[in-house]
Subunit: 112 residues, 2 copies
């Protein structure tokens, strides 16, 4: 149930191991072994996580010799953020103030 892009992105982010991998990649490209090192899970498991991230567009992969290097591609996060921004006024103070300001203007316009 679901193959839309946003769902894929959010699903990819819904795993702490994958988020940690992204965090690691933010510091620079890394091989599968390097990425696996901090975790107590097997290499095949990491390999699958990388496949999920790649499928979501959150990483790209290149190979040199027998090493496969992953690099961060955070553009999908922009999409995700863009979606969430629709709800910003429900939490963001400055947005609330802006909203109040606009309402004030509106009600003043009505008076005239």
């Amino acid at each position: 149930m679901t193959t839309d892009r946003l769902s894929t992105i959010f699903a990819a982010l819904a795993d702490p191991t994958r988020r940690a991998i992204l965090a690691r990649l933010a510091e620079g490209d890394a091989t599968v072994n390097e990425l696996a090192e901090p975790f107590s899970i097997s290499l095949p498991a990491i390999s699958r996580h990388l496949k999920v991230l790649e499928h979501a567009g959150l990483i790209t992969r290149s190979r040199t010799a027998q090493w496969r290097s992953s690099s961060l591609r955070a553009e999908p996060l922009r999409e995700a953020t863009a979606w969430m921004d629709r709800y910003r006024r429900f939490w963001d103070e400055s947005f609330t103030r802006l909203d109040a300001h606009l309402q004030r203007i509106q009600s003043e316009e009505k008076k005239q």
Copy 2:
């Protein structure tokens, strides 16, 4: 596997039906029946989606008489956005410019 807050939030957002429900709630509170109306899935299914959203803190629920009204509580989206913001420099142009600016300042400080 996983009960950390951020995972719960992202997992909740990884479903298009749930995102649509949030979109609907952005226009105002609604009962379960009202929320179910646009979808071709059963009421129990909607009821569970609401439970997922509630568990993620994305909605709160109140009851009056036999109706249970849901209302949006987007604060968790702020948390999610906050997490993603760490990667903003990987996609946002203005961030790149800011980054370049900061690096310029830093390297100039080193010269002195």
